[in-house]
Symmetry: C3
Subunit: 342 residues, 3 copies
């Protein structure tokens, strides 16, 4: 059961309804009228909860689980304990997500502006926005309908935020245009100066950073991530991108649609990333590169050259993934041989 | 002498008392009645200050120091200048820490709630709490006795914080239960959504993140670090863990007791870390792994496999530390040979 | 044209004046009386805008550009479209910077203290400071003339900030002395406890951190970066250093003059970095090392030994850059040979 201090599942919901929501099939023995109260992980779920199995390495947890129902792939159905009702899906994680969302819809905004928020006269708030205590919205900023601005957020002059967005506490936004249904988590910093200066004997002369950050619809940006504005061109985050915590995105970077950027990645200035690219945790990408559509970069890789579309690279410096692992194996073997020869 | 703008040492304190506090032995010539006013590093300390030597590479600084007294290992006593009073300890850094703490006790909270703090009616504050300007404590949150909440902190609904904690300015906490004597530094973000979504042709469907962050007693969490809440299971930080700045801890990660996590480490989702594990700076650990009790991971390593208890690993990808360094040496030799052969 | 929601160029300005400002030469055909309204990148600039070309890989953009004028190196003048007025400079990026700064001077502070700012009675504000909503300035802090303190910033007791500084929203500063013309971007955390504790069987005993952070004139510190105060000695950032986003600087680190530290770098405690050192993105440097004047460390390198002045190192662990790339090439060749031999 989810902790009632933090979560309030709706329901109960009937198993048949959950199967519909999840586009899952009920296995024999699953009673569509049986009511469930919540979702829970396999090792915590009880008789009134729905769980899921997505990763085969947790099969033992399935066998030991007391969950009343479980979403899983048909191939794993035989491992379930007797009496557990099964929801079969070829995409069990997605099916679980739909069920969990049925119990736990995102909370609606509580329209209103906190007394301690400071909103410039020339700022425009759409209907049903929620603005938390201490939030500051500067002149000529515009916030779309039903968007939630958290406590102590700072929205700079002229910023435009779309509808149904959520801006987490202590985030700061400037020089940006944000689409609809964008989630910006706490402590995020968007639109700061890029790292631009002209170095000479007299030192580092700051170059005015005159672009913006353009954020598409349905983007999600993790806590304490920083996205600098363009230097003249814009920094662009395509629709549907998911960016994790503590990521750094430099000026003029362009991300295509639906990219996944795991925590602590750094993308240097002016690099273009295609659609549906996956960047593993702590990846670093040099500036002025092109990462093709559908490319994948393994965690902690250092990318210093263009990556062709659809390829996977790995290593520091990054190579095609098979080459990288062959290099790792080769070096391990050679080191062992040298030792034996000593 | 510490800068009086920032520090106010109590005292003076007698050398004999300091030796007691530090469980150190006075070397011949050290006068237990001699009074000292503060601690200071070797190169800055004067006649009324106590210094320490813990790292042999700073031996020259000892020889040149004018400190009135010094804590050090008996083996190094012969390097001290004539007239310096010596406190001998097999654990000189710990002995110094105890003396420094005698001069500089953590400041007591100044009980009271700033006028601009916003505390929900249904939140509960224990006795003698200090709440800074602009702090926001949401409904049903509970804060234990003598806990200090810094300026512009945001505490989400239902959060529970223990006694004698310190939450630094601009930190944000949600969906978490925090033990006693926990220090959360400035800008930390605890309890945000984990990076969970189900990817399909229709895009990345967010999966509700329904767990918590459980933080044990005596934990210390560095500035701008992010710790995501569990997806269903909890994210757990064991008692006594020390986490540095800009660390990322993913959903469902479990840290055992007394782990040390240096700056900019990233731990991916669902990885289990045992007790007293040491992770060097910028280490990355993949998801769903097990890092055994007492394991050590060298700085900047990339861990892609389980690490057995008590072992040390290094490298990217990580290998047992001796293997890694042998690989480094082997490759350096081979590259030189190839060059000569050219 | 820059987005009028965010930028207000002064002007128009005559080409001859711009050439003077930039110390650039007008190529034949460039009319010094021609007026320009703004700067813009090559692919966006129109007839009334000045652009620049600094990187040869964007030569095609020059050929296709409709910019009315362009700053570039004389060697590239022949690639410019007919009719484009050219400003010739051996340092075109610097020349462009000077022109961009002529159109876009840093905005002057708007003197005044927001109603919701909280300033201790014993704090001292110089003339013409701007203090944003929700900012907190604690007792005995001093802020120099014309310095701008952003929204929800926290300035701890005793902190000294010089003249003409800009402290971004939600930054927090304690235990520090800051020079003149320093820019501290949003979310930065300066002066927190260093990562110091004495470990024994009883656990990790915190060691009081009793130093400061000393920041020289003309330093620029990127968003969400963390700089810990010294443990007894000070942490020092030399004049003119430029530090990017999400950088971690440990206690007692010393940076010389004019260093460039790219995003996500981590510098461990007590390392000394000389003057005009360049550290690429995601570099990690171990503690207690010495990095010589003018040294360069390639992106993502892991430095575990001293780096001599004027040298460039690369790799993990870092080697002199040529050795590192020879190692990379050698390993790639050996891995291919082994494969063929299989």
């Amino acid at each position: 059961m989810t902790d009632p201090r933090f979560y309030s599942p709706v329901g109960p919901l009937a198993l048949g309804r959950l199967a519909e929501i999840a586009a899952a099939a009920l296995a024999p023995g699953a009673d569509p009228r049986r009511m469930f109260r919540d979702v829970a992980p396999l090792h915590l779920a009880g008789a009134e909860e729905v769980s899921f199995l997505d990763n085969r390495r947790y099969r033992a947890a399935l066998e030991a689980s007391r969950a009343g129902a479980c979403v899983l792939h048909p191939d794993l159905a035989s491992a379930a304990p007797a009496g557990m009702m099964l929801l079969l899906s070829d995409h069990p994680y997605r099916a679980y997500a739909l069920i969990a969302r049925a119990f736990h819809a995102p909370s609606a905004p509580k329209p209103g502006v906190a007394a301690s928020a400071v909103i410039a006269a020339a700022a425009a708030l759409g209907p049903d926005c929620e603005v938390g205590p201490g939030a500051v919205i500067e002149s000529a900023a515009a916030v779309g309908a039903r968007t939630v601005i958290g406590a102590n957020v700072w929205i700079g002059p002229g910023v435009v935020i779309g509808e149904d967005c959520r801006i987490g506490a202590n985030a700061t936004l400037s020089h940006c245009l944000v689409g609809d249904r964008v989630v910006i988590h706490r402590g995020v910093c968007i639109g700061e100066d890029g790292f631009g200066f002209a170095t000479s004997r007299e030192g580092h002369l700051p170059v005015p950073q005159l672009g913006r950050v353009i954020i598409g619809d349905d983007v999600d940006i993790g806590a304490n991530t920083t996205i600098d504005r363009g230097s003249g061109p814009d920094t662009v985050i395509g629709p549907g991108c998911r960016i994790d915590n503590l990521v750094q995105i430099g000026h003029n970077v362009v991300l295509g649609r639906g990219c996944v950027v795991v925590a602590q990645v750094g993308i240097s200035g002016s690099t273009k990333v295609g659609d549906f690219v996956m960047l593993g945790g702590q990846v670093g990408i040099a500036g002025h590169l092109s990462i093709g559509d559908g490319a994948r970069v393994a965690a902690k890789s250092g990318v210093s050259k263009d990556v062709p579309p659809g390829t996977t690279v790995s290593g520091y410096p990054a190579f095609p993934v098979k080459e990288h692992w062959r290099q790792v194996a080769t070096l391990a073997r050679l080191a062992k041989r040298e030792t034996k020869g000593d």
